[in-house]
């Protein structure tokens, strides 16, 4: 009897541990106050690392639990690893910042932990219900995080904007979910997929509209064009550590969810959604590259950069093949390291009188802080996709996959995919302009003022290790495990 009453908890041990840890740390924080922020932060990171270990050790084939609402397979494992690494690093990076700003709040790491928990659920979601649960847990935490500096006008504005638009997108997503349920009769991804594949005629219009609405809700989370508009404002307004967190972990989680939604329940309709993905991918790449050209604020620039990078990652979905998915997974792994490293540098942009975030503030960095300039230079080149740095290989795998798909098609009707690759490469050329501009500013402009020496060893370590990874990615010792694990992850969804 117990077996039927209690579902199999083993696949969700990581999430359960995180939830308990978050509550325990909350209690701890409440009693110890803001003085305990540093300790809570470290413990949060510890919880994430333990969860990471649990996730890594779970290395099995697909297992469903909670009435098939929750799935664990190699794809979820890989994406969860990325999410956990990104979140843990975000916590580490934030510590010095809040200390310097005298804004230490113990809620911050706990909110990050809760958001991460939401992301874990999102990645593992196999049901519209668990999808929404995870998404909302994540989103609510993020809304608060965006405006965690209550006294900052910009941060509150950013938080509010994010909240209003996020609520709108959640509404859209919910509406879509209800339409799907209404027309299919189930919220479970697997069941939806089976039902659609067995339908003798094409999908119902209600399902189509429902899918579009779910797609839109998820596209909002990954800030793909035309659902990207919140991104620059929120990135710029939110405190820098929050932006650093926003830039990576939620993107990875939402993208993982998007992939699962597209392939499991709506795999039958791939021909129609591919066109939409192609459009979003194209629009994101072009807008991300072009709009960044005129930006002067480096956080805003990174917002456009992330829009562009999501566009490149979507190319992998557009390819519709296992190689494409593998490319996307690799892309996100590399994107994670590049962005964490870049934000570590941005967090180190502190003068005696506070943080600065204009590109012009980087002038002459090569003379005043040569090591940081070198690291940031490597990140910028990698973001621009200059071989042999890692960023180039990320693009290489997705474009290779999409070209392979286009070429393999005997009817050659997929010339749109070729166009996607061509425009993508052109967009990355345009994008190279602003990345190289930063390098130019750092290395060729005269210094005006100096950043204070960075005290945090964590930031320095993150910068150094990420830069080294970017440089050394072409070594087989480094890229082989990533490529292999990515292949297995992709194989879990598309065989």
């Amino acid at each position: 009897m117990t077996e039927t009453l209690l579902p199999d908890l083993a696949p969700a041990y990581g999430e359960i541990f995180m939830a308990i840890g978050a509550m325990a740390l909350l209690m701890f924080g409440v009693f110890r106050g803001n003085k305990s922020t540093e300790l809570v932060s470290l413990l949060t990171a510890a919880v994430m690392i333990v969860t990471l270990i649990i996730t890594v050790t779970w290395n099995d084939t697909a297992v469903y639990t909670f009435e098939n609402m929750f799935v664990v397979d190699r794809f979820t494992s890989f994406m969860k690893i990325l999410v956990l690494v990104a979140s843990a690093l975000a916590v580490f990076m934030s510590m010095q910042y809040f200390k310097d700003e005298k804004e230490e709040r113990f809620e911050y790491p706990i909110l990050v932990l809760l958001a991460t928990l939401g992301m874990m659920v999102m990645v593992s979601a196999n049901d519209l219900m668990s999808l929404y649960m995870g998404l909302e847990l994540q989103s609510l935490s993020l809304y608060v995080l965006a405006s965690i500096r209550r006294d900052s006008e910009l941060a509150t504005e950013a938080g509010l904007k994010y909240f209003v638009l996020g609520a709108l997108s959640s509404g859209i997503l919910l509406f879509g979910s209800s339409l799907i349920y209404g027309f299919v009769g189930s919220t479970n991804f697997t069941v939806i997929g089976q039902t659609l594949s067995q339908a003798s005629h094409g999908p119902d219009i209600g399902v189509i509209i429902g899918m579009v609405l779910v797609l839109a809700g998820l596209a909002f989370k990954i800030s793909a064009v035309p659902f990207h508009m919140w991104t620059p404002d929120v990135y710029q307004g939110a405190p820098t550590p929050v932006t650093a967190f926003f830039a990576v972990a939620p993107k990875v989680a939402a993208l993982a969810l998007l992939v699962r939604v597209l392939y499991v329940p709506f795999g039958e309709m791939s021909e129609s959604w591919t066109q939409v993905i192609v459009f979003m991918s194209l629009a994101s790449m072009v807008l991300g590259s072009v709009a960044a050209v005129v930006q002067t604020n480096i956080k805003r620039l990174m917002a456009y950069s992330s829009i562009g990078h999501i566009g490149f990652a979507l190319v992998g979905i557009a390819a519709g093949s296992q190689d494409g998915l593998r490319g996307l997974v690799i892309y996100m792994a590399i994107y994670l390291v590049m962005n964490v490293g870049t934000f570590a540098c941005i967090l180190a942009m502190r003068r005696k009188d506070g943080m600065v975030e204009d590109i012009s503030d980087l002038a002459g960095l090569a003379q005043t802080r040569p090591a940081m300039a070198a690291a940031l230079g490597i990140f910028m080149l990698s973001l621009a996709g200059i071989p042999p740095l890692a960023g180039f290989w990320g693009k290489w795998y997705v474009f290779k996959a999409v070209i392979a798909t286009a070429v393999a098609d005997p009817m050659a009707t997929n010339y749109g995919l070729i166009m996607l690759a061509v425009i993508g490469v052109m967009a990355s050329v345009v994008g190279a302009y602003y990345y190289l501009n930063i390098i130019k500013v750092m290395f060729f402009n005269e210094p005006e003022g100096e950043f204070i020496l960075q005290k945090s060893r964590k930031l320095k370590a993150i910068m150094g290790v990420s830069a080294a990874l970017m440089l050394l990615f072409l070594l087989p010792q480094i890229n082989a495990p990533v490529l292999e694990y990515a292949r297995m992850a992709a194989a879990a969804l598309i065989s």
């Binding site: 999908p203 508009m229 919140w230 620059p232 066109q275 807008l287």
Partner: protein, 647 residues
């Protein structure tokens, strides 16, 4: 031995050019001059071995190209023709190197200058020793490069840079012809090696080559193309415009490159390819016509110029014309003999004028000279010897060679021979006139220079004078000593197989020894006549030239302005080319390619970026609107795709 002759100057050039700073000026001078002295000495040894020993040497250095049917080596072919050229090149070059030590003593870039001179010598030696057309072309381009570098040696002088570029560009026209000629030769014979090509030429007689709508005689076409190359390098009528401007270079350069050696490369090339030219009477007639025309044309200009170096430059041009019409009437021996003697007396004249210029504090305008006879007597004496040799005073170098050419022109039965003969005689009159005019304007009469210049007039040092003496010796004796070998009774033994005559029995050189007495006397008579006119016009009645130029204003203007050739070229070629260039630059490049290409792309990206920034208004309802619009568009798209759905 031949390796040392050819590569000695090359190594010296490398050392002086790349390590000039380490070696110092003196080191560079010692190395380059030393290499040239050795080369010059060995060249004379070679001449005695080859010319008087009657052998031909082939030396292969290494394989150059071996690709499919195209095979040729770096190799030397040393026959009498090459040996003569080796002597001319190395002797004059050696003397010029030594002269330069004195002449360039105030210049800050001595090592560079010496390196260029040696580099030129190396390239010229590659040209004359080549055993195939491609190697010859290598040397051909090499001397062009060295000429460019040396004309523009004073690169801070805009006129020198312009002259260097002009020389390079005009030569390009000729080189293009030469290259086409080589291509044509390879196309029809399958080889570029002289011996193979020459052996196959007789089989090609009468064949035609189709080009556009024309059927051209094959051999004539090849010859004309080769000759266009020769015209460029040897400054023949039409492609001569660079030579007078090239006088912007230092005077030793003018003596070496633009009088004695490089400009004679065209003559050498035609002589070398005589086995081809001999089979095309039309091409030979063309060569004769161009040569004779150049001889008279350049001489007319020479009579009116006031720059001492330009007078000699036009004289060179004119003398090269003599050589070419000698080639055209198959008097190859006479042409090479004139080349040989001309090298001595023209180098002497140039170096002498360099000495004059040096004495006059770099003044080149003869109108500001005069009366230098007593102040620089040795230079005066050398210049007079050079002038006598040039004008063909009996028993001096030019007497044998030039008179031989004129006699051969009379004796020849070529269709152009008559024209060549009369032009040659008339040009000889003008040669005599302008040469003596130069002497009289420079050395006689009252000095017309400023006081400060006059005070500084001095005889040049020994470094400069010694080469003059050696060259003067050559101008005095070269003709007398070598006439029997080059053009006289030992002709056949001396030349061996180096010069080819299709109809050996009917040698025009032989016939030239049996022409009427008045023909033999005519060059001498016109020489005296020219001298007398010059004496009358510049010594007895110095106002004559002004009267003359007043009376024959248009004729004078025509000659003075060099027949307006430069102006015609400017009008026909240079200005349209410039206009086209400006048009393509401003309209084509900036207005079309840049505007719609790089600049346009950049501008449109910027415009798009600003538009995107404008969209980013900051208002939540704008953002929400964009999202809803996106959803609406996607829904429309999906419904459209699925054909309106099933229900």
């Amino acid at each position: 031995m031949y390796q040392i002759i050819v590569f000695g100057p090359f190594i010296a050039a490398i050392l002086a050019g790349l390590f000039g700073r380490q070696l110092g000026d003196k080191g560079a001078q010692i190395i380059t001059c030393g290499a040239l002295v050795v080369s010059a000495f060995l060249s004379w040894v070679a001449l005695f071995q080859i010319g008087f020993g009657g052998t031909v040497e082939h030396v292969t250095i290494m394989t150059w190209v071996s690709s499919g049917d195209l095979n040729f080596n770096w190799a030397f072919k040393v026959d009498t023709l090459t040996a003569v050229m080796l002597v001319v090149v190395n002797t004059v070059s050696c003397l010029v190197h030594i002269y330069s030590i004195g002449y360039m003593s105030h210049d800050p870039h001595k090592a560079r200058f010496m390196a260029y001179l040696s580099l030129f010598t190396f390239a010229m030696l590659m040209l004359v020793t080549a055993d195939n057309f491609v190697q010859m072309f290598f040397g051909w381009e090499g001397v062009g490069l060295a000429s460019y570098l040396l004309i523009g040696f004073w690169y801070k002088k805009p006129s020198a840079c312009a002259a260097a570029i002009k020389a390079f560009l005009v030569n390009r026209v000729g080189d293009f012809g030469f290259a086409l000629g080589i291509f044509a030769i390879y196309m029809v014979t399958g080889s570029v090696e002289f011996d193979v090509v020459f052996a196959k030429i007789p089989e090609l007689q009468g064949q035609t080559i189709h080009f556009l709508w024309m059927d051209l005689d094959l051999i004539t076409t090849i010859c004309i193309l080769l000759f266009i190359g020769a015209m460029g390098k040897s400054a023949q009528l039409g492609l001569h415009t660079w030579l007078p401007d090239a006088m912007e270079g230092p005077t030793p350069v003018s003596a070496l490159i633009h009088a004695a050696t490089m400009v004679t490369a065209g003559v050498f090339m035609v002589a070398r390819t005589s086995p081809i030219f001999e089979y095309s009477p039309d091409a030979l007639a063309f060569v004769t016509f161009i040569g004779a025309s150049t001889a008279i044309f350049a001489a007319t200009i020479g009579t009116t110029q006031n720059d001492i170096k330009r007078v000699i430059a036009y004289s060179t041009c004119s003398q090269l014309g003599y050589m070419f019409f000698a080639l055209g009437i198959s008097a190859y021996g006479a042409a090479i003999f004139h080349l040989f003697t001309h090298a001595f007396f023209k180098a002497l004249l140039f170096l002498g004028s360099g000495s004059v210029i040096h004495a006059m504090s770099d003044e080149q305008d003869m109108r500001k000279m005069g009366g230098l006879r007593k102040k620089i007597p040795w230079t005066f004496a050398m210049m007079v010897i050079g002038t006598l040799a040039l004008t063909g005073f009996p028993f001096l170098a030019g007497y044998y060679s030039k008179d031989m050419i004129i006699e051969a022109a009379f004796a020849s039965d070529s269709s152009m021979a008559g024209y060549a003969f009369f032009m040659g005689v008339f040009a000889a009159l003008l040669t005599s006139f302008y040469s003596w005019r130069l002497i009289f304007m420079t050395f006689f009469g009252e000095s017309r220079s400023s006081k400060s210049v006059q005070d500084h007039v001095h005889e040049s040092g020994n470094w400069m004078m010694a080469p003059l003496y050696v060259l003067a010796l050559g101008a005095l004796l070269a003709g007398f000593i070598f006439k029997d070998y080059f053009i006289g009774q030992n002709y056949e033994d001396f030349w061996g197989s180096a010069l080819f005559l299709k109809d050996a029995a009917n040698n025009v050189m032989e016939a030239a020894h049996h022409v009427p007495g008045w023909v033999i006397a005519s060059p001498f008579i016109v020489m005296i006549l020219g001298f007398l006119i010059a004496v009358y016009a510049y010594i007895i009645k110095p106002e004559t030239p002004a009267q003359f130029s007043g009376t024959f204003r248009y004729l004078y203007a025509l000659f003075y302005n060099k027949w307006y050739i430069d102006e015609i070229y400017d009008y026909l070629l240079v200005n349209p080319a410039k206009k086209l260039g400006v048009f393509l630059w401003k309209k084509g490049d900036e207005n079309i390619i840049d505007r719609f290409g790089p600049d346009g792309a950049a501008a449109s990206v910027m415009a798009l970026a600003r538009k995107f920034r404008g969209l980013q208004s900051g208002y939540i309802y704008h953002y929400a609107f964009a999202m809803l619009m996106g959803i609406a568009a996607f829904v429309t798209w999906f419904v459209f795709i699925s054909g309106g759905g099933a229900s």
